[in-house]
């Protein structure tokens, strides 16, 4: 019998992936004398069981409990408890009509009408790909067999079934992923000039449906400039609103909350969830047009592969349907993993698209930034040349020359920022990147303050509002690199100042010598590169301004290359989003730490400079030289 079972299962495995589990179950039903058998998927996330395949019985879909029901209080739930607590390989009961089984059974009518009696329950464990064996701590499915009463069932059969089903389900998942990848790639390859929204149409209408049956699906993309999730494609939204009117702000409702990463991604009863979490005040803003009332829900975030923790969009599903009938089912972790896999593919395409746009915008912006000071120098020099001996007084000539000098410095600083942002990598020794000298930090910051003159003047602000004080000692650092640190922090304070006329611009740079300092964790929890729990001796420098502040939701992005606070666009379109990236890069290379210690009123950027910079011993270490 074992050989026959094995042969039948192997033969059944040799079929189309979408029919694999049905085919295996059919093999079991053909080899054993069974009245009926069912493979139930166990969904511990929502606490439900769903029929995945069934042989020799097909209930009508209005008997929805025959397709989906709660684990708790069910016969299978009872068996799972026994299997786990008593470490049973399988359960074989002589009569399902006996107590307590019949009380747990969801369909005693079916038991009686089909004359079911004996029942065998075999747990199918999730397959651990890394160990190439079933993971006995995770039950993924349950195989229920109602055999003829006199059938001589053996442990070896249970083991063969367990192993074969476990491996096949795992294989099926892998094949599904591969097929899904191919399907999405093919859509993208045939994209032509179509926009992303059009591209998503076949994905949500056809491709996803090959793997999961559902009633509604929508894709929202993140608009970083207006900070909202915009609908780009849907199977249909209730009320057929205009697509451009369908959006969520960050944190708004369930979808906006998921974008923030604060809410659950799989919900078994979306109505109950809303009532529970929103005190019944929030119904929904937009929901998919579904045949049944919304019940099960799953949302997957599309995250940028190139810009850490940046959301690109959300794919959300309403009402999963059971694979065997139009009964509302529950989304499970396999669905989540599969769609998450698809979302990673989609993210790559979205990211590529966005990066192309960002690249051209960046090139344009960079040209603009560099040509600005150059235009000034060119125009001023021409005026000076033409009026040298005629209408210009000596004071005017001096002023003009001073301006030309300042703008030349500005241009040098700007091109250095670009240079520091792009040059170097982990592979290049720091000794090649930096030229360390003994420099008094106070003098360096004073020089930087002067460099900021043209920037301050451009913005018509009072240059004397930049205050430098405290312990700013001699250090062994690269002065050019550290000028970049402070000019960028200073120009950010200027750029991101409050622009109302009543607000006076003010910025302070204060240094403190510290015998021992613990970088506070609470304020910098989102800045990943901080070295925590280390007490250090060194200097703390606070750069304090009373500007518009740092958005706490974006604090983990502000040091990313290309990051610009999006709402600033209304006030300021210039800048390359390189400043803080360069600041962080330089400081990290010198073993320093930067964090935002206060988000607003005032905004405080804190820098910790370790005492190791008091001499040049660190430049002799292999970590610096090699």
């Amino acid at each position: 019998m074992e050989a026959i079972l094995l042969k039948a299962l192997f033969k059944a495995s040799n079929c189309n992936n979408s029919n694999l589990i049905t085919s295996l179950l059919s093999a079991v039903a053909n080899v054993f004398p069974v009245k009926m058998c069912t493979l139930w998927k166990v969904n511990f996330l929502t606490g439900h069981l769903s029929v995945h395949a069934r042989e020799k019985y097909e209930p009508v879909s209005k008997l929805d409990f025959e397709y989906v029901h709660l684990i708790k209080g069910s016969l299978i739930g009872h068996f799972i408890d026994i299997i786990v607590s008593e470490k049973k390989k399988y359960i074989d009961i002589p009569s399902v009509l006996d107590q307590p089984y019949i009380d747990y059974h969801q369909s005693p009518d079916r038991v009686r009408s089909l004359k079911l009696k004996r029942m065998i329950c075999i747990p199918i464990y999730d397959f651990d790909e890394s160990k190439c064996e079933a993971n006995r701590s995770n039950i993924g499915a349950i195989l229920n067999i109602y055999p003829e009463d006199d059938f001589d069932f053996d442990l070896s059969y249970a083991e063969i079934i367990q192993e074969h089903f476990s491996l096949s389900i795992s294989r099926s998942k892998l094949i599904s992923r591969e097929e899904l990848t191919r399907d999405i790639m093919s859509v993208y390859e045939n994209r032509g000039g179509r926009d992303l929204g059009t591209l998503f149409k076949p994905i949500i209408d056809k491709i996803f449906r090959k793997y999961i049956k559902y009633e509604g699906c929508s894709i929202f993309t993140w608009d970083p400039f207006s900070n909202k999730l915009d609908l780009v494609q849907t199977t249909g939204i209730l009320g057929n609103p205009n697509t451009k009117d369908v959006y969520y702000y960050l944190g708004e409702g369930l979808t906006g909350g998921i974008a923030l990463g604060e809410k659950e991604y799989i919900i078994s009863d979306v109505n109950y969830y809303r009532k529970k979490n929103y005190d019944g005040n929030y119904k929904y803003k937009w929901r998919e047009n579904t045949r049944n009332d919304p019940l099960s829900f799953m949302a997957i975030r599309i995250m940028s592969p190139s810009r850490v923790s940046e959301i690109l969009g959300i794919i959300r599903f309403t009402n999963k349907l059971n694979p065997l009938a139009n009964v509302i089912d529950q989304f499970n972790k396999d669905d989540y993993e599969l769609i998450n896999h698809a979302s990673n593919m989609i993210a790559l395409y979205m990211d590529y698209d966005q990066n192309s746009k960002i690249r051209s915008a960046f090139a344009l912006q960079m040209a603009h930034e560099i040509k600005g000071p150059a235009t000034f120098i060119r125009a001023s020099s021409d005026r000076l040349q033409k009026r040298w001996n005629s209408s210009f007084s000596k004071r005017q000539v001096n002023s003009e020359l001073r301006d030309i000098f300042d703008y030349s410095e500005l241009q040098i600083i700007l091109t250095s920022t670009i240079e520091y942002a792009w040059r170097g990598s982990e592979d290049i020794p720091k000794s090649n990147l930096y030229h360390v000298k003994r420099v008094r930090l106070l003098d360096l910051i004073e020089k930087v303050k002067k460099l900021a003159i043209p920037i301050a003047r451009e913005q018509a602000i009072d240059f004397n509002s930049i205050n430098i004080e405290g312990d700013l000692p001699y250090l062994f650092i690269d002065p050019t690199a550290f000028k970049q640190v402070f000019i960028n922090l200073l120009t950010n304070a200027i750029k991101y100042r409050k622009r109302s006329r009543t607000e006076r611009f003010k910025v302070s740079i204060k240094g403190y010598g510290l015998k021992e300092y613990q970088i506070p964790e609470s304020n910098n929890i989102k800045v990943g590169y901080l070295r925590k729990n280390i007490r250090k001796v060194g200097y703390l420098i606070n750069i304090i301004d009373f500007g518009i502040g740092v958005d706490p939701n974006e604090v983990n992005k502000i040091f990313n290359l290309g990051y610009r606070r999006k709402d600033v666009l209304r006030l300021d379109v210039r800048g390359l989003g390189m400043g803080l990236y360069v600041v962080k890069k330089v400081l990290e290379d010198f073993g320093c730490t930067i964090w935002v210690s206060k988000f607003s009123d005032p905004t405080i950027f804190s820098i910790f400079l370790p005492n190791t910079l008091r001499d040049d011993n660190y430049t002799k270490n292999s970590t610096w030289r090699d």
Binding site: A361, L364, H368, K371, A379, K386, Y407, L569, R570
Partner: protein
């Protein structure tokens, strides 16, 4: 400066790279009214439109409160959207316009050609040349 010819100059870099151009105009006796963003521009236009002889407009500008950042392509064409609006308002539509920008872009070229507006690049123009342009194009 009372009685001198008035120029409205819209540029977020008004105290920076265009300063030599403005000073040149001022030296020749013109009065330059400065606006750094759309809101300031509308305020100044409302106040001085009868006396303004020409409007000098940058293209890359902050979008301000009322312009949709998407429509303005993240500020890249804010100036063109403002010029469109100016041309549509009868009180302002007869004021001559000059686009004065660093941005050398086909879209701007086409817009300027279609609307018969001078399109001048900052990096290719000297203050004295710009003064001549203003003289030639003013109302």
């Amino acid at each position: 400066m009372e009685g001198s010819e008035m120029i409205l100059w819209v540029d977020d870099d008004i105290y920076g790279s265009v300063r030599p151009f403005i000073e040149e105009l001022e030296l020749s006796g013109k009065r330059v009214i400065k606006a750094q963003n759309p809101e300031e521009m509308w305020d100044k236009l409302k106040e001085y439109y009868k006396d303004i002889k020409i409007i000098v407009m940058d293209v890359l500008l902050p979008v301000g409160k009322d312009i949709d950042p998407d429509e303005a392509q993240m500020g890249l064409i804010t100036g063109l959207l403002l010029l469109d609006k100016i041309l549509k308002k009868s009180a302002y539509s007869d004021i001559p316009l000059i686009i004065f920008t660093i941005l050398n872009d086909q879209v701007v070229h086409e817009w300027a050609k279609q609307h018969h507006v001078k399109y001048v690049l900052k990096q290719e123009t000297l203050p004295s040349e710009f003064l001549v342009l203003v003289e030639e194009n003013k109302k």
